[in-house]
């Protein structure tokens, strides 16, 4: 029982990691608490559903179209909602509330167009594979695979490319990069488009696994945020670690305590981290003292 639970938890964690990574990309570089990431997530799943299930566009092409559209939408969100606030020097409060407003708008448009019922793009029994006592569905393997590939790509990009180094530098000082001659708008577009695509990817995979409804984005974004905090804010690897850890912890919690308490346990973990280890597992203790000048 335990190994199966751990395996399931790992797969769920992979999905969380993808969402968390997308969120972290945006938060680390822009410091915007992009709650609407959850709406982008949901939108990704629904766009794919429209292309593939409703319009019967071939699978790969549907994916491609959905991701392209989401990338654009991510950039659009930043440029219409967040950038004007940045120019005004807004406080974190304003971003998070605007983002909540945006979430509400997008989710309700989806609900209006598609209804509130759960949609299942992929119906029927899925092929499963057995690995020494652990049974995994094909889609779960796919999720795991995507996660591995994406993580590897992210690792390489962050360590080896100029873009990656820039992104990591922005964590400490986002104004530094404009001094370095890099266009900050360009960077924002990169992170919003890539971050959104990661969310969409996770959403599509999850929708193929368990279906979707307009409200899946809420738990996705909350899990993503918890993952980022647990793993370490500001550290991309932290998002990945946090996601996996969260998935596994939740599985263990379900094993011991009923699944009904999954949410409060997740948030209890979050609160414990916020209070006792706000820098997350991988983070370094930052100077928190109040220094005025």
């Amino acid at each position: 029982m335990l190994p199966q639970l751990l395996a399931n938890g790992l797969v769920t964690g992979c999905s969380y990691a993808l969402v968390a990574l997308g969120f972290a990309l945006i938060y680390n570089t822009t410091r915007i608490f992009h709650f609407a990431h959850g709406a982008v997530y949901t939108l990704g799943a629904y766009l794919f559903f429209t292309f593939w299930s409703l319009w019967h566009i071939p699978f790969i092409l549907s994916l491609f179209l959905a991701f392209i559209a989401i990338a654009f939408i991510g950039i659009l969100i930043d440029e219409t909602v967040y950038l004007p606030l940045v120019r005004r020097g807004s406080s974190p409060l304003v971003y998070i509330v605007s983002s909540l407003g945006l979430y509400i708008i997008i989710i309700n448009i989806i609900a209006m167009l598609y209804g509130n019922e759960t949609k299942i793009p992929l119906s029927g029994l899925q092929p499963t594979y057995t690995f020494g006592g652990i049974i995994l569905a094909r889609i779960q393997l796919l999720i795991f695979l995507c996660f591995i590939v994406i993580s590897a790509v992210v690792f390489l990009v962050l360590r080896k490319t100029r873009l990656g180094i820039t992104l990591r530098a922005m964590r400490d000082d986002s104004e530094l990069i404009s001094v370095m001659g890099i266009d900050p708008i360009f960077i924002r577009r990169i992170v919003f488009s890539l971050g959104s695509v990661l969310a969409a990817m996770a959403a599509v995979l999850n929708s193929l696994d368990v279906g979707m409804d307009p409200h899946v984005g809420m738990s996705a974004i909350l899990s993503g945020v918890v993952a980022v905090i647990i793993g370490g804010v500001g550290i991309f690897e932290g998002a990945i670690l946090g996601g996996i850890l969260l998935g596994i912890l939740q599985s263990l919690a379900i094993w011991q305590i009923s699944a009904r308490w999954q949410d409060p346990i997740t948030f209890l973990i979050l609160i414990l981290f916020l209070l006792f280890r706000p820098q997350g597992i991988l983070g370094k203790r930052r100077r928190m003292e109040e220094a005025s000048a």
Binding site: R287, E289, E290, A291, S292, A293
Partner: protein, 251 residues
């Protein structure tokens, strides 16, 4: 008769000693200036005294009372007032409200008192109003009394923050660059206020980059460099010292 002293105080950040075994003492009725190049640790010393930072070593004593580990508001209540380099006025409140907010021992600040003893609160508010007006008069901001603090010029905001500090009526005043960023026309006004504070018996401690100000109003000077106090004495002596001049010109 030093009223405030630091003994062997050190503070490090990420392995760098911002303040290195510093000993300072301050007396009432005196304007003591803390000077030194940028990054010497002067503002860190202020943060340590006012409790926003905790010393790694050494101790800070206010009239025999050890201040180590006290929270900022307790240190303020013990009698140490702080003027910040970035003015920190209450922007969306009026000039008068800024000063009124600063008074100590307001019965109305306990939430239930205005509900059950409204007259007692009103009476105290009337007293505070009078004192506030006097303070505003003293710093020359009385006509601006009902204006929002954010509409004031930088120099006026500095004066407001001084008035606010005076309202809290502390014996010791830490003024972090009181004349910085203020138009030259307003500087004499501020200096006058600082001098009269000293004359009223306060221990005034200023961080100042403007050496003219230091020589004009300073009674005693500490020179800091790279976290350590290297010279101290009368303004003429310290400012005349070759190495001190070197540190400033060498900037």
């Amino acid at each position: 008769m030093s009223i405030l002293e630091l003994v062997g105080v050190s503070k490090s950040f990420d392995g760098v000693k911002a303040v290195d075994s510093v000993s300072l003492d301050f007396s009432a009725n005196k304007i003591t200036a803390l000077i030194g190049p940028n990054g010497a640790g002067k503002t860190t010393v202020f943060n340590l005294i006012s409790g926003f930072l905790k010393p790694d070593e050494g101790y800070i004593r206010l009239k025999e009372k050890n201040l180590n580990g006290l929270t900022p508001f307790r240190i303020a209540r013990a009698g140490i007032g702080r003027l910040f380099q970035d003015v920190r006025i209450f922007k969306e409140m009026t000039v008068l409200e800024n000063v009124m907010a600063a008074f100590d021992n307001q019965v109305g600040e306990k939430w239930w008192v205005p509900l059950i003893e409204p007259f007692r609160v009103k009476k105290q508010e009337r007293e505070f109003l009078q004192r506030a007006d006097e303070l505003l008069q003293f710093v020359g901001l009385l006509e601006k009394r009902d204006d929002f603090a954010e509409s004031l010029s930088y120099g006026q905001q500095k004066l407001l923050s001084i008035a606010r500090l005076l309202a809290s009526d502390t014996e010791i005043l830490l003024l972090d660059e009181p004349t910085a960023g203020v138009s030259p026309a307003m500087v004499p006004q501020i200096l006058e206020v600082i001098i009269s504070l000293r004359n009223r018996g306060k221990a005034v401690i200023i961080i100042e980059h403007n050496l003219n100000v230091v020589s004009e109003i300073g009674d005693w000077v500490f020179f800091m460099d790279e976290g350590q106090v290297t010279y101290f004495g009368l303004p003429a002596d310290v400012l005349g010292n070759a190495e001190v001049r070197q540190a400033y010109i060498g900037l």
